[in-house]
Symmetry: C2
Subunit: 220 residues, 2 copies
Amino acid sequence: MNVTVFLFDGLTALDAIGPYQVLARVPGVELQFVAKAKGLIRTDDKLLCLHADAALDDVQRTDLLVVPGGFGTRTLMQDQGVLEWLRAIDQTTRITTSVCTGALLLAAAGLLRGRRANTHWAVRASLANFGAVPCGDRYVRDGKYATAAGVSAGIDLALALVIELAGPDVAQAIQLQIEYDPKPPLDAGNPERAPAHVRELVEQRIRERERQLQAALAAT
Amino acid sequence: MNVTVFLFDGLTALDAIGPYQVLARVPGVELQFVAKAKGLIRTDDKLLCLHADAALDDVQRTDLLVVPGGFGTRTLMQDQGVLEWLRAIDQTTRITTSVCTGALLLAAAGLLRGRRANTHWAVRASLANFGAVPCGDRYVRDGKYATAAGVSAGIDLALALVIELAGPDVAQAIQLQIEYDPKPPLDAGNPERAPAHVRELVEQRIRERERQLQAALAAT
């Protein structure tokens, strides 16, 4: 069983690290991080670099693909080389997954047409622009496509995949190894339960960030 | 407000990435990743490299220190240079934190003597060897020391710290940004609720891993 995690400049680290931390512990799994070019990949906040050990051209097939999100997806959604690679590798996968706005990349590649899917709550409606059917579940499975909600949802999705791929004992052992017994000290992780002023604050920050990105793109 | 995340070869990525993903979003926070030497740091499973942008010698003070865990702590607990740096930087912090076996590093540096603390459940009792008082809470605060349970617990701890440092609105906004509304598909993340055979499986894997590490250390 081979797992490929796609990295790109402007990703949100936890989108990739959550599923990796779960899936890499499945006995017999080989997991690799891949990016347009081998080397350092900077996160969307510019604070951290992750290292991709392989380039897209080196990876022609995989059993399970993980596509994380982050503001960098905005640029990649226009990148025909990346979209082409996603379409080609998807032909070889048993399961194709995304976390957060990674779903917008899959959608831009045309892979979610007619499929139920989820992404970060703040951009969920935009999935419909690509012919997908937005769905607010923590993770959504439609055929071989499994798309998780924002950032932290990749951990829940990955555990669900382990149940399917390796059985509940292995999934429970991994959950216990990473002591995943979440106890958030607040209950604002869901847009329907978060206070309205908090939701507005987040939407405002996201719009602000999008504006900066559009300006930066226009300047290049 | 300055946050320093300590990286080292053999860390568990999520221990560091969880708190970073939360704390870096606090307005006005400057966050940096530091290691013995600048450059690439390999995780305990050897599958991923993170990049440290600063060396220990470059960082003389910080407001908040995050010490992650991982099997690499076994080696570092003997590393007098690292223990000395931990003791020195701790003199400058407002809050010193750990995730998972990062607490064993703080303990080995003598910083948890007489303090209530937690770490990964499988090694919790060993905190007592360093004069700390083992406590099974998701995260434990004693004075300025905040120590989280295993791996994923760093996310909960970080949100609790944001409430304290920046108030509940900011903490709620960050929780909503990372859509932290956990829905584990299983309920095995706690050693008291996991089935006995799953717990034994994990304890056996950890013992096996410790044996390999001891053998590798003895060979060098």
